[in-house]
């Protein structure tokens, strides 16, 4: 597959939490290429199903990457300008001068306006403008704006995705569409090999708000084992390297209470056998990813987390290494290819 082209399509698609329809269509199309069937869950997550070669009833492994992105929402209209607030974890600091798309009765290109330095008192420039002091300008007269836009309409970031040097790729919503691409790589790799278990590749909804998609999908699908795929902080300017993992150094395998130790061990062993670079990421508490709700769904699901290193999280210029996405997809495929009933026995803790 042309990973760069897929990533560009995923990144540029719109799909703010709870309104994922546009990106859902792209994911359905993509997953359909290497799945035996594609479903959409009650709450809107996409599931690409690959049947395993084992005898029925087959065990199931669920992969979960979220397809929703953060964004903005209209809270009012004043003199034709739009007042805004955030949907999930948008960062006010990157908004000034940003191009956006307003999803009104039709899509309207707009900009987050910034007053020029010439008219600002010096102390004003030392202040981060909070969301309720920002305005979106769609360039239309007030009467037209009021006909086309209402309170509650969504606003997406407008950013064409592109490649940087060093095999790096940049765009909005790579948190977590980079992981959705990794799931696609995994399905494609599995289609060319053998696996006993059924594979459920899930592009979940509403991770950025409430983890709704992961929680409800896990409840419905009831997998035996699950892997969540998300992004983590890649080394970058302005952040101490004690808080980041390397860029282009392979997927980060999470270790901590949220993850089953046998799954962690199996992923590390698989990566070592493949001679694939990987990193270990200690997580002492809640992981802040789909892994968190999945682990406690139903009567408990053994879960692991793979994280793709990403710079500038929650900005329009999120940056990842294409190589890391590929590695993550291939690691999952190799792990899945080895899943058998023996493995399940290792998942219950011994007391004799």
């Amino acid at each position: 597959m042309d990973l760069s082209a897929l990533l560009k399509r995923l990144s540029e698609a719109h799909g703010i939490s709870a309104y994922e329809a546009p990106v859902r269509e792209i994911v359905r199309e993509e997953f359909a290429q290497h799945s035996h069937e594609v479903r959409v869950t009650k709450m809107g997550s996409v599931v690409g199903v690959r049947h395993g070669s084992g005898a029925a009833p087959r065990r199931k492994v669920m992969l979960s990457a979220h397809m929703d992105e953060i964004g903005l929402m209209v809270t009012g209209i004043e003199k034709g300008f739009l007042r805004i607030t955030k949907v999930a974890g948008s960062d006010a600091r990157v908004m000034l001068g940003q191009e956006v798309v307003v999803h009104g009765k039709r899509e309207l290109p707009g900009v987050v306006g910034s007053r020029p330095p010439h008219v600002l008192p010096p102390e004003e420039r030392d202040r981060v403008l909070p969301f309720d002091q920002l305005f979106v300008d769609v360039g239309l007269p007030e009467t037209q704006v009021r006909r086309l836009v209402r309170v509650g309409d969504l606003i997406s970031i407008r950013r064409a995705a592109f490649e940087l040097k060093g095999g790096l790729f940049c765009g909005k919503a790579l948190d977590d569409r980079a992981s959705v691409a990794a799931v696609a790589v995994c399905l494609e790799t599995l289609a060319a090999s053998q696996h006993k278990w059924d594979v459920l590749g899930v592009a979940s909804v509403q991770e950025e708000t409430t983890f709704l998609g992961a929680a409800t999908s896990a409840h419905g699908l009831q997998p035996d084992v699950a892997i969540a795929i998300d992004v983590t902080f890649g080394e970058q300017n302005g952040v101490s390297d004690t808080r980041t993992v390397g860029m282009g150094k392979g997927p980060a395998i999470g270790i901590g209470p949220n993850f089953h130790p046998e799954l962690v061990k199996a992923l590390v062993d698989t990566a070592s056998k493949l001679e694939m670079p990987y990193q270990i990421e200690p997580r002492p508490g809640a992981s802040g990813t789909d892994a968190w709700p999945i682990q406690v769904a139903r009567d408990g699901i053994p879960t692991a987390l793979l994280s793709i290193p990403l710079r500038y999280m929650h900005t329009p210029v999120e940056t990842v290494s294409l190589r890391d996405i590929e590695r993550t997809g291939k690691l999952m495929a190799a792990f899945i290819a080895h899943l058998d009933d023996e493995f399940v026995k290792t998942l219950t803790f011994a007391i004799d």
Binding site: P282, P284, A286, Q295, G300, T348, F349
Partner: protein, 347 residues
């Protein structure tokens, strides 16, 4: 003594193996079923003394959590020091000058600090943040440290248990005290219903084991056994100590995670009053327990927490009263003996 054994065992959230084994061995001969699940909970079922007549057996769940707060190793410094983050909530100030046992090999390590002699100006008045602390296991290089301790391994306080008159000191009484109470209840006589004891994991990082356990057990009601805050040091104001040492088991009414079911609370009070067992109320609105997730399981589970008061929880050393411990066992045993489905009837 079970409380001593449990207190000295190492079981930071996500790494409860040692505690689980001690408990399994302690109760094995006293229960009808013993099993674990995939997150690490230990389930022990003690069936009713006589077969229950009802078509669906009345199920009572008792929960105590096996995990303790501790530290997770998050990095290796060039000079051999270990970087770490807390597992669960810990006040940074209790860590300086303490001894930890690190990893499955229990390697001793220390958290040091810049000597007083070398402090300048107001430095001595500033709280040292956990990001600036290191565990020193004696390694002198990054490579040496990496060979001995891996990323993600955990460290627990090294405190030994000590009996002092009618009190005891030790680490992790939150919640090894609760676990010990539950072990004692399982080692006693049967009750008029099927008792589902669950020794849960990962309470300290988000009530995780209890969430899963309650989904599996589907109890009619539940009790949570805890080691809870006793804040009776002298204060400037006449305000609540949350609980008091020596005043008996503390019954919770409301905390930040849940409301106790009043019918269960009234049953506990009635039992205590009838038999002259001392009891107190935990200061409402403080802390949280596994009840937070148990009560919200599926269609809802009436729940009540009962706790042994412990001074200085979430620090290297706590103190509890052995009288409080024994009275907690007694209150629970006597209340459970008299517990019938009628207690949950609504007027």
């Amino acid at each position: 003594m079970i409380l001593q054994q449990l207190s000295e065992a190492l079981g930071v959230s996500g790494n409860e193996d040692a505690v689980r084994k001690i408990i399994a061995d302690a109760v094995r001969d006293h229960v009808d079923e013993l099993r674990t699940d995939t997150i690490g909970n230990l389930f022990a079922v003690k069936k009713a003394q006589a077969a229950q007549g009802a078509k669906r057996a009345f199920k009572v769940m008792l929960a105590a959590h096996m995990d303790e707060v501790g530290l997770m190793i998050t990095g290796h410094d060039g000079n051999g020091g270990l970087r770490f983050q807390p597992v669960g909530t810990i006040d940074d100030r209790v860590l300086l000058g303490k001894v930890l046992l690190v990893g499955p090999d229990k390697i001793p390590g220390v958290i040091g600090v810049k000597p007083v002699h070398l402090l300048k100006g107001d430095e001595g008045k500033q709280v040292v943040k956990i990001d600036d602390m290191r565990i020193d296991i004696g390694a002198s290089s990054k490579e040496e440290a990496e060979g001995l301790v891996k990323l993600g391994q955990v460290a627990a306080f090294s405190t030994r248990y000590n009996k002092v008159g009618r009190t005891a000191t030790g680490k992790a009484f939150d919640d090894r005290a609760g676990c010990a109470v539950l072990v004692e209840l399982l080692r006693g006589a049967r009750f008029p219903f099927d008792l589902h004891a669950v020794f849960t994991v990962q309470e300290e990082v988000g009530l995780r084991g209890a969430h899963v356990a309650t989904s599996a057990v589907e109890p009619d009601c539940a009790f949570v056994l805890e080691g809870t805050i006793c804040d009776d040091l002298p204060k400037d104001k006449d305000i609540s100590p949350t609980t008091e040492l020596g005043k008996g088991p503390a019954i919770s009414l409301m905390d930040r995670s849940a409301f106790a079911d009043r019918r269960l609370v009234d049953h506990l009070i009635a039992t205590a009053e009838k038999l002259g067992i001392p009891y107190q109320f935990k200061q409402p609105g403080i802390g949280g327990t596994d009840a937070g997730t148990i009560t919200r399981s599926k269609a809802g589970v009436p729940t009540a927490p009962v706790s042994v008061p412990c001074r200085y929880i979430h620090s290297p050393v706590s103190r509890l009263s052995l009288d409080d411990f024994e009275n907690t066992v007694r209150l629970m045993r006597e209340s459970l003996k008299r517990l019938t489905p009628d207690v949950l009837k609504r007027s």
